[in-house]
Symmetry: C2
Subunit: 210 residues, 2 copies
């Protein structure tokens, strides 16, 4: 019997650093002996000039996205600003079957949808050390207007209490350490008794044999 991979949901407020933590964990996964992939989302939004289809996103039109909804081929989906975003089920399942763990970097709403379909998914919430640090990070990336920054902070204030139903909490102070911690969580979860109980019986079956 071979172990299936785990679904690992990573959520956190904008500028908590979850994207960077996940990238670093992916880079270090071989060294840590963890089979790890990042799920690529499907979206109807237009492709950016530096984007490659199938890397940052699978870019599809509205009809195709809606066909995927109808075919129940989305583990979760949402729409923002009139565009769809979702996680394709077929790709995720293929990786899991191969024993590869799959990270879904999704929001709380998406996480709830995934947990309905995969109740044993592992959930990790990335917290900033403080709102001052969150504001500092939002300002230093220089992407947002003042109004947008205040909106993102208020949204963080609204969302962070949802961390209370996640399995694990990482306070992201040092990216390198948070990436190690994320890999440790995945490794530990692979050894949870509920996931590998069959190994106890496999060992017992060898008793008294040559």
């Amino acid at each position: 019997m071979n172990s299936k991979g785990l679904i690992v949901i990573v959520s956190g407020p904008s500028a908590s650093g979850k994207g960077t933590v996940v990238s670093r964990a992916l880079e270090k996964s071989d060294e840590a002996r963890v089979e790890l992939m990042l799920s690529v989302s499907m979206t109807t939004r237009g492709i950016g000039k530096n984007e490659v289809d199938g890397e940052s996103y699978y870019f599809v039109d509205k009809d195709e996205f809606e066909r995927n909804i109808a075919d129940d081929n989305l583990v979760e989906y949402n729409s923002y600003a009139g565009e769809y975003y979702g996680t394709p089920r077929d790709k995720v399942e293929a990786w899991l079957e191969n024993g590869c763990n799959v990270i879904l970097e999704i929001d709380i709403n998406g996480a709830k949808q995934v947990l309905e379909k995969y109740p044993d998914a592992v959930t990790v919430y990335i917290l900033p050390p403080s709102f001052q640090e969150l504001e500092y990070r939002l300002r230093s990336r220089g992407r947002d207007s003042e109004e947008k920054i205040l909106y993102r902070l208020a949204k963080g204030r609204e969302e962070i209490p949802e961390a209370h139903w996640y399995d694990y909490i990482l306070v992201n102070e040092i990216i390198e350490e948070s990436a190690d911690d994320l890999l440790s969580i995945i490794k530990a979860e692979q050894h949870r008794r509920s996931r590998i109980e069959y190994k106890i019986d496999e060992v017992l079956e060898t008793y008294g044999k040559d």
Copy 2:
């Protein structure tokens, strides 16, 4: 608020390699950023010629051991072959208070006693890959008579089903990997939401402050 250390119970049949895995995890704990100590047991058995009091064991006489029982200063204890063995509570608690995780390398009976007092202790069961490998390891250490080897194998057969109530299972094929896995389990457990939920509120309290 500072995090208290965790009690980590490590059990497994004789020759499963648990002692070696624990030693290696202790050696690698700094590098892995895990504060880790091994609890030293108290015993009434005689001190061996290469043993140092307070290193392998605290050596005490029967009266002192029984005083410790009466004072409820033993997290768990047992007797084998007319001698007492137990885990002193005062030392363990002092480490936990300092934020240090403490490994107790104890048997199933001891583990049950500890869980009654510390229900949130983390339990890890070390399995050999097979009984053939267990027998090979018992024979190669050359310590036991044929009779004793058969007794240990039968005892393993009797005990291993108890792994079904441990939190984590490690199949010890490669010591280095098992030691890493043990450290990952401790690291992950430090980030379990139930243990560090207060951090969510600590972050929320910084909202709107300068």
